[in-house]
């Protein structure tokens, strides 16, 4: 069969990290090609290159589509060729109708005279093709997420798509809707359309894919073909995680003490949709001197759990018992949580963690200003000394502590965020994705800091999407899936296969 798409030797670098390292991939005309890999393996980056989100020139290698080398500068260029990507986060405007969304950026009629009759008529046709029984006049906000996903697909069809890329299309769908969507993909295939499916749900992948390309750490590991290779979930997992474990994690001998943090029957409801439970009946504990990991896919409720423990900074209608040092506590605000020696370092350091316009000094002390002030009067000299100490201890690379944190690299920002929470002198630190988006060297330093913290007798609860990191750092691992803790694995029993198996079994 003829290749519709060839990716040859794609290299993409971000500051300090090589996201793609000579990736090759061939997609044949008329097939469903699955792309699998862990979080951070480079799947989305690769698709962003293919669709022109990262323009030509920002990466190395060749994109050959339909026999010619392509140099997409924008998404529009790739869409003109019939390559359409549907992102995991749906790009629909809530207060517009289905039809308006479907032709957004691809309007019917002329620029100064939109043809609404044609818009709504055409929209109706495409809706029929995807089997969505809704009026094209319905507002997007009024239909469920499954139907929104179908709208996205109809939108792609309206662009005369030849190569459809779906990034985790079923992540937010229930079983029934997922099956419908997969059947539709098979139907499109029979009509000659080519699609690339990115998915964590390996059962779906083995169900519909003709070929599977496995990415790991930005490299192509293998391509499995239906008929010749074994496409079972176990086989795919092996390809995804079969990594050599070198000493990417500093050694530590655990000295585990008494229980510092315990959470019993913890249930949290979604911040906006009260009926939706983001954490359900969670029971976890963390001991002194212990690093405990929480593993799970994105959206499994890990961050929500961490934030709800931290002074109810997320969610509503939170039920359950929280014990610190064996004492039951009710933490109703972040301030109370900090005063009870709890700290939470966010996964989103730019959005939720740091004031980017302010200096390192100001960020370092922000959560504990009472320690550098007297009767509300700030002692700036003391503050500078504190920031200076942390800068040296954590080896933050900067010109001075007066430098705005917005100008620092990701790794150094993360260190400032850690400084800020270490300065509150917590007993228990909840670290949410402590090494997200930082390079390998800085990761190692962060891990060393974590080891030092537990050596001092603190307890660390580490939330991470990177399984090797969880396995390399943690003494005990909780696996979360859809808001519940589905497994607790001691270090000895934990492996990537075991964690994946727990998640797959539960979902």
């Amino acid at each position: 069969m003829k290749n519709l798409l060839q990716l040859k030797g794609i290299v993409k670098e971000f500051p300090g990290v090589r996201a793609l390292d000579y990736v090759d991939m061939n997609v044949a005309e008329g097939e469903i090609h699955a792309l699998v890999g862990e979080n951070g393996a480079g799947k989305s980056t690769l698709m962003n290159i293919l669709s022109g989100v990262y323009p030509h020139g920002t990466y190395e290698g060749e994109v050959i589509y339909d026999g010619e080398v392509c140099r997409f500068a924008t998404i529009r260029d790739s869409e003109k060729k019939g390559i359409v990507i549907i992102h995991q986060e749906l790009a629909l405007v809530p207060y517009m109708t289905i039809a308006e969304n479907m032709f957004l950026g691809n309007e019917r009629g002329s620029a100064f005279n939109l043809d609404w009759n044609e818009t709504y008529a055409k929209a109706g046709e495409y809706l029929k093709m995807v089997g969505l029984k809704e009026s094209s006049h319905t507002l997007i906000k009024d239909i469920g997420v499954g139907k929104q996903q179908l709208t996205e697909i109809a939108k792609a069809l309206a662009k005369n798509v030849r190569l459809l890329i779906l990034d985790e299309p079923t992540a937010s769908l229930n079983e029934n809707d997922s099956q419908k969507l997969l059947e539709m993909l098979l139907q499109f295939k029979s009509q000659g359309m080519t699609s690339i499916l990115i998915s964590h749900k390996l059962s779906e992948v083995s169900q519909v894919a003709d070929r599977i390309t496995v990415l790991r750490d930005g490299r192509t590991i293998e391509t499995l073909t239906k008929g010749t290779d074994d496409l079972s979930e176990e086989r795919i997992i092996k390809g995804m995680v079969g990594r050599e474990m070198t000493s990417r994690y500093p050694a530590r001998t655990p000295h585990v003490g008494e229980v510092l943090l315990e959470v019993r029957s913890w249930t949290v409801h979604h911040e906006l949709y009260e009926e939706r439970k983001v954490c359900e009946n969670v029971n976890i504990s963390v001991r002194r001197g212990e690093v405990v990991g929480i593993s799970g896919l994105m959206g499994s409720g890990r961050t929500e759990l961490g934030m709800s423990i931290f002074g109810k900074s997320y969610g509503q209608n939170i039920q359950g018992t929280l014990l610190l040092n064996g004492q039951e506590v009710h933490l109703n605000s972040v301030r109370e949580a900090i005063n009870n020696k709890l700290a939470y370092a966010t996964e989103d350091r730019k959005g939720n963690g740091l004031v980017l316009t302010e200096a390192i000094r100001i960020n370092t002390t922000l959560a504990n200003l009472s320690k550098v002030s007297c009767m509300k009067h700030l002692d700036m000299d003391l503050e500078r000394r504190v920031a200076q100490e942390f800068r040296e201890k954590l080896r933050v690379k900067c010109s001075s502590v007066e430098q705005p944190v917005g100008n620092l690299s990701g790794g150094n920002q993360q260190k400032v965020l850690l400084s800020k929470w270490m300065f509150t002198e917590p007993d228990v630190l909840i670290l949410d994705e402590p090494s997200r988006g930082i390079d390998v060297g800085a990761k190692y330093e962060i891990y060393k800091i974590i080891n030092d913290l537990v050596a001092e007798g603190k307890a660390v609860l580490m939330i991470s999407s990177e399984m090797p990191e969880i396995l390399g750092m943690c003494d005990r691992i909780y696996v979360m899936c859809e808001g519940r803790v589905v497994a607790e694995l001691p270090r000895e029993e934990a492996s990537q296969e075991a964690i994946m198996a727990c998640i797959l079994k539960a979902s």
Binding site: V334, R335, L354, V355, E358, A367, S373, L378, D381, K420
Partner: protein
């Protein structure tokens, strides 16, 4: 020379202010209309802009919380002044049957300001209605209440016992010679305090082993500051004496400078404006911070109202109209960020004086009032564009 460029880069508005002052001065002298730096004009500049400085200081706090503005300040000024004038002039300091004096009336005015601010602050901070909408509503409603209270008429004149506190000059009745003497002595004392504070901070820094600036630069700066102070007080002495309102302005500016730059709640203002989510997750009561900023705006609007009543010797229905725009403009010219988290009291002061000199200079030159507006608009836009572009080039956040 390099250092001089650095100072220029750090304080572009201050340099611009000096240039604008010199520009107007030369133009005024050349057209034979006196001098921008004439003693009477210096005093005028202060009494014309006193209320703007007070309002802009409060507005800065609102802008810092996240680029929000308070549109109702003009109406708050009018309503407070209406109450004040009614109380003092019409009711003879008798409030609801309780006989007070001018002090209780002033206190009532301040209380009313805090109340007006707090009402808006509640909706903004705890219900999270956009400040723009809440204060737009306040702008309409408070103006209406003021008109009702004034019965759409002017109340005047204010008694001397009131104007004495906000609109008079020190020392009161004395000969021109002793007035100049006392003025100069006061100026000298202030200079001495400024120098002492600078020296003390330098010494304490050296003792704790911190970096200090070049000693020559410190003295150069002190000489310039002292020259400005002595010059101003010389002008006061030559004219009618030290304006009482200057003391009030000094207290307001210093208090809020200290509050924003050196205190914990001040730091919270900047943190909230820089990244509200991060502030919240650092244990900061962001609702409380927001409430304070807007309630405080009401308080400062009341202070400004007292100053205005004394200056105009009356309360009238159009009092305070478009004052909010003067205050907002001064903040942005002074380098505050429209997104919040950036801006200083010092910058706002410079912004206010800049606008004041512009107004004053153009009036002396007899430029058509309509054109004055055009120039002010252009200056405001230029200042903000300049600010945004200079930050972009630096590549900062």
């Amino acid at each position: 020379m390099k250092k001089a460029l650095e100072i220029l880069k750090k304080n572009p508005m201050l340099i611009a202010l000096v240039f604008v002052m010199l520009f107007f001065h030369i133009w005024i002298v050349m057209t034979g209309r006196g001098s921008l730096f004439a003693p009477r004009n210096i005093t005028n500049l202060i009494s014309q802009n006193g209320y703007v400085i007070i309002l802009a200081t409060g507005m800065l706090l609102c802008i810092l919380t996240g680029g929000n503005i308070d549109l109702s300040v003009g109406s708050m000024v009018c309503l407070v002044a209406a109450l004040g004038a009614t109380l003092i002039v019409k009711w003879n300091n008798n409030f609801l049957g309780i006989q007070g004096n001018v002090y209780t009336s002033i206190a009532l005015c301040l209380l009313l300001g805090i109340l007006l601010g707090a009402i808006q602050a509640y909706w903004i901070a705890y219900v999270r209605i956009p400040a723009f909408i809440v204060t737009l509503a306040g702008m309409l409603a408070y103006r209406g209440l003021a008109l009702i209270l004034l019965n759409a008429q002017t109340i005047s004149p204010m008694p001397a016992e009131f104007t004495g506190y906000f609109g008079s000059f020190l020392p009161g009745a004395s000969s021109a010679g002793s007035r100049l003497q006392i003025s100069l002595i006061t100026g000298a004392i202030i200079c001495a305090v400024v120098v002492a504070v600078q020296l003390y901070s330098r010494v304490s820094k050296i003792r704790k082993n911190y970096d200090v600036e070049n000693v020559r630069w410190m003295w150069a700066r002190l000489v310039v500051i002292c020259a400005v102070i002595i010059g101003s007080f010389y002008s006061f002495g030559k004219d009618r004496g030290i304006p009482v309102v200057l003391i009030l302005l000094g207290v307001v500016v210093l208090t809020y400078y200290y509050y924003t730059a050196k205190t914990v709640p001040g730091r919270y203002l900047y943190a909230m404006g820089g990244n509200e989510k991060a502030a919240k997750l650092s244990g900061i009561n962001t609702n409380g911070v927001l409430f304070f900023a807007y309630a405080n705006m009401g308080f400062l609007a009341a202070v400004a109202a007292l100053v205005c009543m004394a200056r105009f010797n009356s309360a009238f229905p159009t009092l305070g109209q478009s004052y909010e725009l003067d205050a907002i403009g001064a903040c942005f010219i002074g380098g505050a960020s429209a997104y919040g988290g950036i801006g200083t009291v010092g910058g706002t002061l410079i912004g206010t004086v800049f606008m004041g000199v512009l107004n004053n200079g153009m009036s002396i030159l007899g430029i058509n009032a309509n054109w004055q507006q055009v120039v002010k608009g252009a200056v405001l836009l230029t200042a903000v564009v300049f600010d945004v572009l200079s930050k972009k080039r630096k590549g900062g956040a």
